[in-house]
Amino acid sequence: MNVELNTYSNNTIKILAISGEMNANTSSEVDNRLTNLIMGGNKKLIVNLAGLNYISSAGLRVFLSANKLIKKQNGELRISNLNDLVKEVFEISGFTMIFSIYSDEKDALKDF
């Protein structure tokens, strides 16, 4: 079970596309990347989860941590492209009330 990360930009907005699985073993890699992006000065960050097919609580915590960190930097994190299972996990855990979630990357980029 692996995770793949792809970082790219759209003007001043940084986008991190995550594919594969976020579990106890793979989530630290995502955590490190998000932390580096945020501490590197990126205040507008979109996480595109189109390729993510599995997330456990370890993965959820990574997003929670990143959200707290970017807010401290006066930035914003948006999440897009959740598949049905990931969306259900977000809903069960109450994360849909914490995060700004968009149906796709294009929507997340609007007015950002």
């Binding site: 106890a24 929670l64 996990v89 069960i92 109450g94």
Partner: protein, 135 residues
């Protein structure tokens, strides 16, 4: 089907793989397979992280009591310290998820992903029973 693993996070995938293999034979929809993988992941992660003091020294039993096209029931047995995951206050969890204790979020997911969950302490062992209905 009865499996025994060591209390090591890397062992979790073995149980998931066994379950996935059976699921494919039964042609279970992939969304149920992924949900059960999360349940297995969360329960075993909790046991491995909190039930024992030392890693790789203890055994955890996983029994697939029944598994057919309509439902599956798994039993997780460990000899660790008493721990009833159902004692976590799930109703409060969703309101205070940002401050949820580590492990609480995982249990919250499990309780909401399965149809039935039951805990028993027998012979100094924790027994956690979970049932998922594929509807």
């Amino acid at each position: 089907m009865h499996y025994i693993i060591s209390n090591n996070l890397n062992e979790i995938s073995k149980i998931q793989q066994h379950f996935n293999t059976q699921s494919e034979k039964l042609e279970i929809d992939v969304r149920w397979i992924r949900k059960m993988n999360i349940v297995i992941d969360e329960i075993l992660s909790n046991i491995i992280k909190y039930a024992y003091e030392e890693e790789n020294k203890y055994k955890i039993e996983v029994i697939i009591e029944y598994f057919n096209k309509s439902k599956a029931r798994l039993i997780f047995i460990d000899e660790g310290k008493f721990f009833n995951p159902l004692n976590y206050s799930h109703k409060k969890a969703i309101k205070n998820v940002e401050n949820l204790e580590e492990g609480g979020l995982g249990i919250h997911l499990v309780v909401n992903l399965v149809n039935n969950i039951e805990y028993k302490r027998n012979s100094d062992k924790n027994h956690l029973y979970v049932e998922m209905i594929f509807d």
